[in-house]
């Protein structure tokens, strides 16, 4: 297989033109990297500078969310913060165990069978399902029968998180060396025992960090929530009945409002959301670094 392009092989120092081409290519690659930094820095700078002036304990816990026309300082985003926490929390509660179990099936029980491979493939495909479609799905099978609620939002987020958790758990389980499993079988353990007491604990670092990243992504999801929770102004701690709100939907609604107060609240909520996502990401990295026994 030829490994050099169609130029004649020149074993001396590269000519000026070849060296220049190389340099241009390197410069282009660096420029590309810097180009991606520009929007990142702009967004983070804007969110931090505009959001910081809105953040206060009153903002994070105050309730209800005031009318758009009210300036900053009246009311707060308390309902949205509570909503995000309970909806995302419950979604994590549903999807993480199911995702881990699904990955366990694919890796431990499915073996070489076609079903396991098919499920793994479909889980990958499911990561690409648009979030708005998940929202429509939950709307048609749940909201039409049981009404708007935070629970519907949790279901939608759980459907989005499930394939991500399956994928990352599956990768981690693959890395657990086989000799651990074989040793346990040799000692007479049942398959479930092996999985629960040996394999999962060995992979727990990676599983946790994968789950945290899925949660971070779910916390920022907006589209499905817009369809199924019906953004309201008052705190609703009852996840199972009654419309609810979340930081992401609130930002979406406020972004379209012309009032200064609404815009300021949107920036504050955006900063809150970014801080939550960053924290989760950092914790995930720390967990990966400290607790993962087996890496690639």
């Amino acid at each position: 297989m030829s490994v050099v392009s169609d130029q004649t092989v020149d074993l001396r120092e590269p000519t000026n033109w070849r060296r220049t081409k190389n340099r241009i290519a390197t410069v282009v690659m660096w420029v590309a990297f810097v180009a991606t930094l520009v929007p990142l820095i702009l967004v983070l700078y804007t969110v931090v500078s505009k959001g910081v002036s809105a953040i206060s304990w009153q903002f994070l816990s105050g309730s209800p969310i005031p009318p758009n026309i009210m300036p900053l300082g009246i009311g707060g985003m308390g309902p949205a913060v509570v909503g995000t926490l309970i909806i995302t929390g419950f979604a994590a509660l549903i999807s993480i165990p199911l995702g881990v179990l699904g990955a366990v099936y694919i890796n431990e029980y499915g073996g070489k069978g076609w079903l396991a491979k098919f499920i793994a493939f479909m889980a990958d495909v499911m990561t690409g399902v648009p979030s708005i479609v998940m929202g429509l799905f939950i709307f048609t099978i749940w909201v039409l029968h049981f009404g708007y609620s935070g629970l519907a939002g949790s279901f939608a987020l759980a459907c989005l998180m499930l394939p991500i958790v399956i994928r990352s758990t599956y990768e981690m389980l693959l890395l657990v060396p086989n000799h651990l499993r074989e040793a346990s079988y040799a000692l007479g353990a049942t398959k479930s025992r092996v999985t629960l007491t040996v394999v999962l604990p060995a992979a727990v670092g990676g599983i946790v960090s994968g789950a945290l990243l899925a949660v971070a992504r779910a916390a920022g999801e907006t589209a499905p929530l817009v369809l199924v929770i019906l953004t309201v102004e008052a705190t609703n701690t009852n996840l199972f009945s009654g419309a609810n709100t979340a930081l992401s939907t609130q930002i979406f609604v406020n972004a379209q409002s012309p009032y200064v107060g609404a815009e300021a609240r949107a920036w504050g909520a955006a900063l809150t959301l970014i801080v939550i996502s960053f924290l989760l990401m950092i914790i995930a990295r720390v967990v990966t670094a400290r607790f993962t026994k087996y890496t690639r």
Binding site: S2, V3, V4, L11, P14, R18, R19, K21, N22, I24, A25, T26, A32, F33, A35, T36, P39, L40, L42, L44, L98, L101, G102, V104, Y105, E108, I119, F121, A123, V125, G128, V129, P130, I132, V133, M134, G135, L136, F137, I141, L162, P163, A183, S184, A186, L187, G188, T190, K191, R193, T195, T222, A223, V226, L227, S248, F252, A255, L273, I274
Partner: protein, 328 residues
């Protein structure tokens, strides 16, 4: 196997006894639970198709094939043609891909070939930060800061290309800050992390011997990339690009805020547009009856398109991975 003779994991009670013929109930229950969890993925995917199809039948039956793909969308007269939105989704995603691919692939090459291992991690973190910013925050920044800033720039470009044949129909008037191009640009930023990370994985599987062979023959780094890396990884990189395309098509909130919300089929990239995801999230809360059925039908169309794109993408990645395993 030393692991067996050392003090290994906690010995289960009665360990020397062989397992009884039929597995214990707990073990079987766990296996069943795992199976159910795995099947859940398939069940959900099937349910998505079934439920959305069921809810949108009234649209499909009333509009028929010609109605569905017409360009007329007027809820007041019950005309729901999807063409303008399909067009919007495709154009915005294409713009996103055209802008993002050179950048993403360049960064992937940077990380694998140019940068010493030590510096690779920080750069990866920075690129991943782009993915951590939620979509709605990109949309917020887009509509409040970026759109007003870029509107006059589009206007001056439009007046600049006025009269020039192809450029005028692409970049000429009418222009608006919230447009196909703005949405495509912001989407490009959002899909860069995924394309970069997938491309990196693919490029990293190129056999080291090939790369060293190229260097040994006197190739510059760029020539090595063109000659050794690219032929091996092009399939996988195409797969990565398609995954990014699927992501761009499904992206909702950012485009709902910055694409312009105008259901028109026009070649002018600086004019407002309306991708499928945008119209659904904007108008669904207000819709009822056949309007709602039409929006759900649009969602189903979007689902089918993104699934097809993702399947193709996975196909490319699988094929390239198989070839990798063969050669290494």
């Amino acid at each position: 196997m030393s692991a067996v003779t050392k003090a290994g994991p906690a010995t289960p009670a009665g360990s020397a006894r062989p397992l009884s013929k039929s597995r214990p109930l707990g073990d079987r229950a766990f296996a069943l639970l795992a199976l159910v969890a795995g099947l859940l993925v398939l069940v959900i995917l099937v349910l998505i198709v079934v439920s959305t199809a069921q809810q949108s039948t009234s649209w499909f039956s009333t509009a028929g094939w010609s109605g569905i793909f017409s360009t007329v969308w007027n809820p007041a007269t019950n005309q729901f043609g999807a063409m303008a939105f399909l067009y919007g989704t495709v154009i915005v995603s294409l713009i996103a891909i055209i802008i993002s691919v050179p950048v993403s692939v360049s960064i992937a090459l940077l990380l694998t070939e140019v940068v010493p291992r030590r510096w690779a991690q920080p750069i990866v973190y920075v690129v991943d930060l782009l993915a951590v910013v939620p979509s709605v925050v990109w949309g917020l920044w887009g509509i409040i800061i970026f759109v007003p800033w870029v509107a006059p720039i589009y206007a001056s470009i439009a007046s600049g290309v006025h009269g020039i044949p192809v450029l005028d129909s692409l970049f000429g008037s009418p222009t608006a800050g919230a447009s196909f191009f703005t949405a495509g640009l912001i989407l490009a930023v959002m899909i860069t992390p995924i394309i970069t990370s997938l491309s990196r994985e693919v490029i990293a599987t190129v056999p080291q011997t090939d790369k060293e062979g190229a260097y040994a023959l006197g190739a510059t780094r760029w020539e090595m990339i063109r000659g050794a890396v690219w032929p091996h990884s092009q399939g996988g990189v195409v797969g990565a690009i398609l995954v990014g395309l699927g992501r761009a098509m499904g992206e909702t909130i950012a485009v709902a805020l910055v694409a312009g919300s105008s259901a028109e089929v026009t070649s002018h990239l600086f004019a407002p547009g309306y991708p499928i995801a945008g119209v659904i999230v904007n108008q669904f809360p207000e819709a009822s009856g056949e309007f709602r059925a039409a929006l759900i039908g649009l969602g189903l169309l979007l689902f089918v398109i993104t699934i097809l794109v993702n399947l193709t993408a996975r196909g490319f990645v699988e094929r390239s991975a198989r070839r990798m395993r063969g050669t290494s």
